[in-house]
């Protein structure tokens, strides 16, 4: 088992697809990840399972790798009896988590948005472009830029988890590019596919950040750094020409529109 602990998860899943189901059972969603370079041992460690859960997970993975062989699970060092302190986000992390709320509301609307895609009328194309602008300006320029240009710089750029986050951002940008070109061509099918792909990508991306990345970062940051991040985010908010209110209004209107249609 030791050799698998030091292997990238994507390689393990590619070789033994059953491992993905085992991870899913513990809400560890490595399957849809585009990069998958995290080592199995790091994935297990970062999810902070209880000792029993971790043991069960390892047994499940061992069985998925080889149901017949008696695979040895390395003994884990006994954890301290002291319980971890109750966790809450620091104010700059809380800000990023709060920004996710609007993005989550948008991705929740995407299936209905896709059903109603109208590439033929000027009004329909305008609405699609507004949706893409929500992704490009609010989710990317306003939110991801804070991460890439400020937050991530406090950490080792070669950390696997940061590479995964960067790869997600790059994928989102390439979907935006494709969608803009598809609007020009009035290519409804591509826009629909790309919006759904964006939805899936961002849902998983936000979950990883809220539940794994930000808590992990909060544990690493010093008090000094938390204060610096807070000031820098505040500075970005004051200087950037992106109005969160405009995008909140856009989402409010869409929600009302689809509620009416359902009603």
């Amino acid at each position: 088992m030791e050799e698998y602990l030091n292997k990238p998860i994507k390689e393990i899943i590619a070789q033994y697809p059953g491992v993905e189901d085992v991870l899913n059972a513990y809400d560890i969603g490595c399957g849809p990840c585009n990069v998958g370079i995290c080592l199995l041992k790091d994935i297990v460690a970062i999810h902070r399972l209880s000792d029993d859960q971790e043991q069960q997970l390892m047994v499940g993975i061992a069985r998925a790798i080889d149901p017949k062989q008696d695979i040895k699970i390395p003994k884990k060092e006994k954890k301290s009896e002291i319980q971890p302190r109750e966790f809450k986000y620091s104010p700059p992390m809380k800000k990023l988590v709060d920004e996710h709320v609007l993005i989550k509301r948008w991705i929740a609307l995407i299936p209905e948005f896709v059903e109603n895609l109208d590439v033929e009328s000027e009004k329909g194309r305008r609405l699609i472009l507004d949706g893409i602008d929500m992704i490009r300006s609010y989710a990317d320029r306003y939110h991801h830029a804070k991460e890439e240009e400020i937050l991530f710089k406090y950490f080792d750029q070669n950390a696997d988890i940061l590479k995964v986050m960067h790869a997600d951002h790059t994928r989102a940008r390439s979907l935006v590019k494709e969608m803009l070109a598809a609007v020009e061509r009035r290519d409804r099918k591509t826009i629909a596919e790309d919006l759904m792909a964006y939805r899936e990508l961002l849902a998983e991306h936000i979950r990883k950040e809220d539940e794994i990345l930000y808590p992990w970062m909060d544990n690493q940051l010093s008090t000094r750094q938390v204060g610096e991040l807070f000031s820098k985010f505040d500075e970005v908010d004051r200087q950037i020409e992106v109005s969160p209110v405009k995008y909140a209004d856009f989402i409010d209107q869409l929600e009302k529109k689809f509620e009416k249609q359902e009603g």
Binding site: R85, E86, F87, P91, R224
Partner: protein, 159 residues
């Protein structure tokens, strides 16, 4: 019926019989991490240079006696002021001084260290009131220290 024990803030307790000293003896003299004077909230000037852009500790008087590693773990690289929310008079002055830290000295963070006794929450409330009344926002953390020096709670509160 349980005998009335009085205020938990002033109830008599003796830790001698329960406290275990498993820590190795310190190697040499422990260096003080205090880098300023004065420190009492009535005496400090919030515009002093050591508060400018600083990570500031607002510490209840008893904390430094209870918390064995106070200098190394908390005071290092920080500026400080101390106060007692139960016994100090004229705490409206404190409110104004905390506001001045936030708005004028533009402190980086404020960490409020209090004891587990209920009266100590007054110091955190005071800091929160001052933060709400300030124009600038800063991250505020609070740390609750047990009477035997254990950290009972340490968390950020909304800026």
């Amino acid at each position: 019926m349980e005998k009335f024990q009085g205020c938990p803030g002033s109830r008599m307790m003796n830790f001698n019989s329960t406290a275990e000293d498993n820590t190795p003896p310190a190697m040499g003299k422990i260096t003080s991490r205090l880098t300023q004077w004065p420190i009492q909230m009535h005496l400090i000037n919030p515009a002093a240079p050591y508060y400018q852009g600083a990570d500031v500790l607002l510490t209840a008087d008893c904390v430094a006696y209870a918390l064995g590693d106070f200098h190394r773990e908390y005071l290092k690289d920080r500026s400080i002021a101390i106060a007692c929310p139960k016994l100090d008079q004229g705490q409206e002055v404190y409110l104004e001084k905390i506001k001045a830290w936030i708005d004028q000295a533009k402190i980086n963070t404020l960490t409020v260290l209090i004891m587990q006794v209920p009266c100590c929450m007054g110091l955190l409330n005071l800091a929160q009131q001052a933060a709400e009344a300030s124009k600038r926002k800063v991250p505020i953390k609070y740390v609750v220290v047990g009477v035997q020096g254990e950290i009972l709670r340490e968390e950020w509160i909304a800026a």
